[in-house]
Amino acid sequence: MYWNYLYFSVIGIFFVVYVFKKVKRNEFSEGRSIFWIAGGFTMLCLSLFPVIFIKLSLLLGIVYPPSLLFLLSIVFVVFVSFRQDQEISQLSERVNELAQRNALLEQAISAFRAEERLKQDNIGE
């Protein structure tokens, strides 16, 4: 059974290192990486100290302790996915507003240019 915890520890270490590398190379923002780092560390701690894990499982009535790790992982992924969807909808709204503003400014510029052309034509005459 302890092999399970070893797998999880190795995955946790790789995951945390991978996220840190991405942040270091500016390929992932600090703010957004916090959740993943926290998730990775939680996974690592629970795998390195199985005692906490086993006690917690028993407390929650989970017979097979590694199931708790899967449960926590699923909850975490669902939470992050929900947050991302929420952010996507906020970003879509901002993009729409920008598109509207861009269209209005373009119209204003073309109206201004038409007015200028008319003025120059009048001066020419």
Binding site: A99, Q100, L104, Q107
Partner: protein, 244 residues
């Protein structure tokens, strides 16, 4: 210096209808009213036609849908200081001759929103069975939530004053289908809505954005959800207690 009233025409792939619509408007209302067409990134040559028609056009960089185009028109009207705005469909359903009916009602009742209704006096026998059920459900919902009777909440033929216009420009996440939901929200915020019977034509050519069972179902589900959210947002403070 511009006129007091602006007509907003959201337009997407209406190359077969838009010319007739603009010609009708110019013939009936002449130079007394300004017109702006919001081209929602049409792909059928509507944009070129609009240039040839010499009408004020706002071209969106990508397709925002009917509500996004409409809100762009509101923003244009508000920024340019128009006192009244009339929504007008580009598919030829709305009649330019009926604009005066809405303006007369506005003068008479001074309501914030005037809806040109197909059903205020006559029945709704021309619509499909699904649409008739949906419209009557929306009417009942409006009555229950706001206490007001609106017969045609799905009509896009509407005249707005500047305060309603201001509100529309500032709504974040403007609903994808601004129909009964937005009317409920406006009434709950103290805006007065008046309905008047007008004549309308069937769409001249092309397909409606609500054509097909799937689209109609999506439209109904979205609208019911939107109304539910509005009820949640205002419950219980503003329901039946309209305060601006």
């Amino acid at each position: 210096m511009h006129n007091d009233l602006l007509i907003i025409i959201p337009c997407f792939n209406e190359v077969h209808n838009i010319q007739g619509v603009i010609a009708d408007l110019r013939l009936v209302i002449g130079k007394d009213v300004d017109i702006v067409v919001i081209d929602d990134c049409s792909t059928d040559g509507t944009s070129k036609l609009l240039v040839a028609l010499d009408v004020i056009t706002i071209t969106l960089p990508f397709n925002l849908g009917y509500s996004g185009a409409l809100q762009t028109g509101y923003k244009y009207a508000f920024a340019h200081g128009y006192e009244q705005v009339l929504q007008f469909d580009a598919d030829g359903q709305h009649l330019a001759s009926e604009i005066q009916t809405l303006l007369n009602v506005r003068k008479q009742y001074n309501a914030d929103i005037i809806i040109g209704s197909r059903f205020a006096e006559s029945g709704r026998s021309h619509d499909s069975f699904l649409k008739r059920i949906a419209t009557s459900l929306f009417c009942k919902l409006i009555k229950i939530i706001t206490g007001e009777t609106i017969y045609d909440p799905t009509s896009g033929f509407q005249l707005l004053n500047r305060s309603a216009l201001e509100r529309y420009t500032k709504i974040h996440n403007f609903p994808y289908y601004p129909d009964a939901n937005i009317i409920i929200e406006m009434i709950l915020n103290g805006f007065s809505v008046k309905e008047v019977q007008v004549a309308m034509r069937d769409r001249q050519r092309g397909n409606s954005m609500h054509s097909g069972l799937l689209r109609q179902s999506k439209y109904m589900a979205t609208l019911f959800y939107s109304i539910f959210i509005i009820v949640l947002k205002y419950f219980p403070s503003k329901l039946h207690h309209k305060v601006r």
